[in-house]
Symmetry: C2
Subunit: 283 residues, 2 copies
């Protein structure tokens, strides 16, 4: 039986922290695969060549469902076949479906079936706004990872997330505290903190402690600094991080060498993290 | 060109405030349509018979995408064909896709395409947690309705939504203020407030003023009281409300008379609202 946390910890033990974001916007897929007129098979070809070129270096893959949903049925098939491909060629690597789902409890059962049973993901991102009571259908799936938005990577994230809650500090901190201390009864929770906010990342690591996974998007194109990110996000065992890069890896080249370029960028990120963790680079 | 706000105001001018929630869980569809082994055609048959039986009484239809997504591809087709059916037989009635979407800006473009361009909805529900900057791809669609979660109907909604923001009151109030005063530059915003929280509903009506649409789920099965809801949610022109009922209408009967039963419940709700607005019932 696949178990997200066990799979993730096994990858951490191998020193792997890179997550490749398969945000395979069909308008950006290299011409050699079929730019402009991409079919579902071409999206899967693009993804599977990236997966084949990077799977010895990563701790997870993370397709964002929005980039597939925009293409309707062909996109849906492409997403499902991409997840199947990971399960086939790299069954030890977990797939995080980045879907930011949340609704009231009864309705969440539909999303749980979509994400885990129909699409076959090992983990999902969820939005905390409804509270834990509504998210029970997700939280009760012990073998799956439930990754809760905390401090998102976008520029305007602070509009609500930074609001000061009376006697408790900023809202994102309250979310982190609730998730770590109350939501995590099955040991299946994680948090999302953008690499663009290293101070908040360090603060949240202090709240959640060792071994608690933090998914960190925003490295690269969005401007997150790797050294600050790793030093803020690592736990005392130099683990706990899922460091995501999407377009910086998958669209590193728009030529025929896109898979090699993706590997090069993944390796660069992996080596960078390794060096920082070894203390070869210090802040 | 279809415009959500104009369509909604036209229905309000006809005195119509009921929204039928097409949460057509295939496991609950009457046996006469095909319980247990429902196909996409049977889901559409069920929905279209409900639509045909209720369309002279409602201001909107609101399918929740989770109940379709749980069935993968057949569900996707059923959803799209249901929206097409409304557009065909009742082109004057707007369709709200209840999808609670939200991501960072670039990614939201995928969802915007999914909801408006691929599925053809007139409005969508969104989650405020990322802030307005991220939701721009939604907010800039002037002809579409962007309905922001504010105080949701679930029991545990208060976990974060009721937190007191320093100097500003509860979080849901801050969300209402931001949406009404800053997000609504294109006049296309609305809010979601659960019928289960009439005091909060009255408070938010005071913040957003006349004409601002509030989508109100939670009547019926979830326990919301109609009289309290209408008196709290109405604006000074006795308009401004989209009062949703889902299973109370669509699953009113599990027999062959399900469409007639749905009409009876819709009429009951419509008449109840009308009586309350006329002041025949007072609190």
């Amino acid at each position: 039986m696949r178990n997200f946390m066990e799979m993730l910890h096994a990858k951490w033990d191998e020193g792997k922290f890179v997550c490749v974001g398969l945000d395979s916007d069909p308008t950006k897929i290299p011409e050699s695969v079929g730019k402009g007129t991409v079919s579902q098979e071409q999206i899967v070809e693009f993804n599977s060549r990236i997966i084949d070129a990077t799977r010895d270096l990563v701790c997870a893959y993370k397709p964002n469902i929005a980039f597939y949903a925009t293409y309707g049925i062909p996109g849906w098939h492409a997403l499902r076949n991409t997840i199947d491909w990971v399960n086939q060629v790299a069954p030890e690597i977990p797939v995080i479906l980045d879907a930011k789902r949340a609704d009231i409890g009864n309705t969440n059962r539909g999303y749980v079936a979509e994400v885990f049973d129909v699409l076959g993901a090992d983990a999902v991102t969820v939005n905390p706004y409804f509270g834990a009571e509504a998210l029970q259908p997700f939280l009760e799936r012990k073998d799956k990872g439930i990754i809760v938005l905390c401090r998102t990577s976008n520029k305007g994230a602070g509009e609500f997330q930074d609001l000061t809650v009376l006697g408790q500090g900023p809202l994102y901190r309250v979310v982190a505290q609730h998730v770590a201390s109350e939501w995590n009864k099955n040991g299946n929770c994680a948090l999302v903190i953008g690499a663009t906010y290293p101070a908040e990342l360090a603060e949240v690591r202090g709240i959640v402690g060792d071994g608690f996974p933090i998914l960190i998007p925003g490295i690269g194109k969005q401007g997150g600094d790797l050294e600050k990110t790793v030093n803020a996000g690592r736990d005392s065992k130099s683990q706990g991080m899922i460091i995501n890069s999407s377009s910086g890896i998958i669209f590193a080249s728009d030529g025929e060498d896109f898979a090699e370029a993706a590997r090069r960028e993944t390796e660069k990120l992996h080596n960078g993290i390794t060096q920082i963790l070894k203390g070869a680079v210090t802040t």
